[in-house]
């Protein structure tokens, strides 16, 4: 793909993904949640018993598809490469707190766009915070932040997370009694398995091809005035908006939005934590899944951090609900902002240690 073709491909990819996300809602996914990496990883955590919040337990085939779709296209394009060793535990902690921030807001950057496309004005506060967080991260990037280099790893290292995804797919298909499936609430709402899986595979492949990343879009615009990735997300928004309007799923306003709350400050601070952490990780939660599919063990560790963060969020009452954020959740977000700032400082100003 040469430079001139990259923009139209990214725009087409964004439009396609926006349509897929809206159709998934039409087929059963929760409103404004055709895709949400944070929510879906949280649902998987619940399904395997890492938390016991009964309304949010389901093995989401979209997550499995994203990783495997990326894996398959990377193999076809000879871009699959097992690598890692770049501060894995730091990435785990960053992934953990990115999830805490997302569950304060009730959505990942991807769902933030889909919430906007559904008319949820609360996501504007999330977007403002997200941009602020990215600017914080870019500040440290320009000052010298690095988690140091990656190294080539044995093939097995790059296959672990995809293998776990296959195992999850088997568990989903067999539905043994020890796996939890929500009987009501968001976890009980889902499109048919094969359609969700296919959607994940397609979006995973598209995201691998285009390097789609919400954080990367804003980061590249700030650093280079490069708009390609950002415009891809504008295309997702536009396509989802048109489809939502056509399907009767566009309801502009702030109060009563699906799986959302109206506390603007904490919507903003949650996504600020997510944006800051994601810049330090080098990509949004969607990008971490796609990189995991390409064989990146560091991103796989980050995904595990997201999973554990989701479990903590629901075991200790940190996640928000439609009623708003919790006191414990607010404390966790503040702690997260402190921890992420410390990580940024330690890896910027003391590189020789």
């Amino acid at each position: 793909m040469n430079d001139k073709k990259e923009l139209p491909v990214a725009l087409a990819a964004g439009l396609g993904i926006g349509v897929i996300a809206a159709v998934l809602v039409l087929l059963g996914n929760p409103a404004n949640m055709g895709f949400c990496i944070a929510c879906f990883v949280r649902d998987i955590a619940g399904s395997v018993g890492l938390h016991r919040a009964a309304p949010v337990q389901y093995i989401r085939p979209e997550i499995i598809g994203l990783v495997l779709g990326s894996l398959m296209l990377a193999l076809v394009r000879k871009e699959w490469s097992p690598k890692g060793g770049s501060a894995p535990m730091t990435r785990f902690v960053l992934g953990f707190f990115v999830m805490i921030g997302c569950l304060m807001f009730l959505g990942c950057p991807f769902r933030m766009i889909l919430r906007l496309a559904g008319g949820d004005g609360n996501a504007l506060f999330g977007l403002a915070g997200f941009v602020a967080g990215i600017l914080c991260g870019v500040f440290f990037l320009n000052k010298g932040y690095t988690l140091r280099r990656t190294y080539r790893l044995p093939t097995a290292e790059g296959t672990v997370l995809p293998a776990i995804m296959v195992a999850l797919l088997v568990l989903l298909a067999l539905a043994p009694s020890f796996i939890y499936f929500s009987q009501e609430g968001p976890g009980s709402k889902h499109a048919p398995l094969l359609i969700s899986l296919a959607a994940g595979l397609i979006v995973g492949a598209i995201a691998q091809r285009t390097r789609l990343c919400m954080v990367g879009g804003i980061r590249d615009f700030v650093l280079f005035r490069e708009t390609r990735l950002l415009l891809a997300f504008v295309a997702i928004f536009a396509a989802a908006l048109v489809c939502n309007a056509a399907f009767g799923n566009f309801h502009p306003g702030f109060a009563g939005q699906p799986i959302a709350h109206t506390d603007g400050l904490w919507n903003a601070l949650g996504m600020m934590l997510a944006g800051f952490g994601c810049v330090l990780l080098g990509g949004c939660p969607l990008r971490q899944l796609v990189l995991s599919g390409e064989g990146n063990a560091d991103s796989a560790v980050t995904v595990v951090g997201l999973l554990v963060g989701a479990a903590f969020a629901h075991n200790f009452g940190l996640a928000s609900s439609a009623d708003g954020p919790t006191a414990a959740g607010k404390a966790a977000v503040i702690l997260g902002l402190v921890v992420v700032t410390v990580i940024a400082c330690l890896n910027t100003f003391k590189k020789e240690n």
Binding site: M1, N2, D3, E6, A74, R77, E79, S86, L141, N142, K143, G144, Y145, T146, L147, R148, R149, T150, Y151, R152, Q208, T210, R211, C213, G216, D220, L223, F224, E226, R228, G282, G283, R287, E294
Partner: protein
């Protein structure tokens, strides 16, 4: 020659660009071209000779040719 260098960190790219410019080599930081890599970091496109001993932040250096990229340097490991 026109070359592109990719890096393990954004700051490595910024330092490389400054080094190129101090040697009188025009250089510009930008996102890594998709047809060069599936990673999404920062690269430096420069017009001139690459450094004889690339710094450790450099992942690879390629020459841009009419038929594509020709690898000049790739970090070990």
């Amino acid at each position: 020659m026109i070359g592109i260098a990719t890096f393990f960190s954004h700051f490595g790219a910024i330092r490389f660009r400054q080094d190129c410019q101090s040697r009188g080599v025009p250089a510009k930081a930008m996102p890594v071209p998709r047809d060069l890599s599936s990673s999404c970091g920062t690269c430096v496109r420069f017009e001139g000779e690459p450094p004889a001993r690339p710094p450790e932040e450099v992942e690879q250096i390629v020459e841009v040719t009419d038929s594509g990229y020709r690898v000049l340097y790739r970090a070990e490991g």
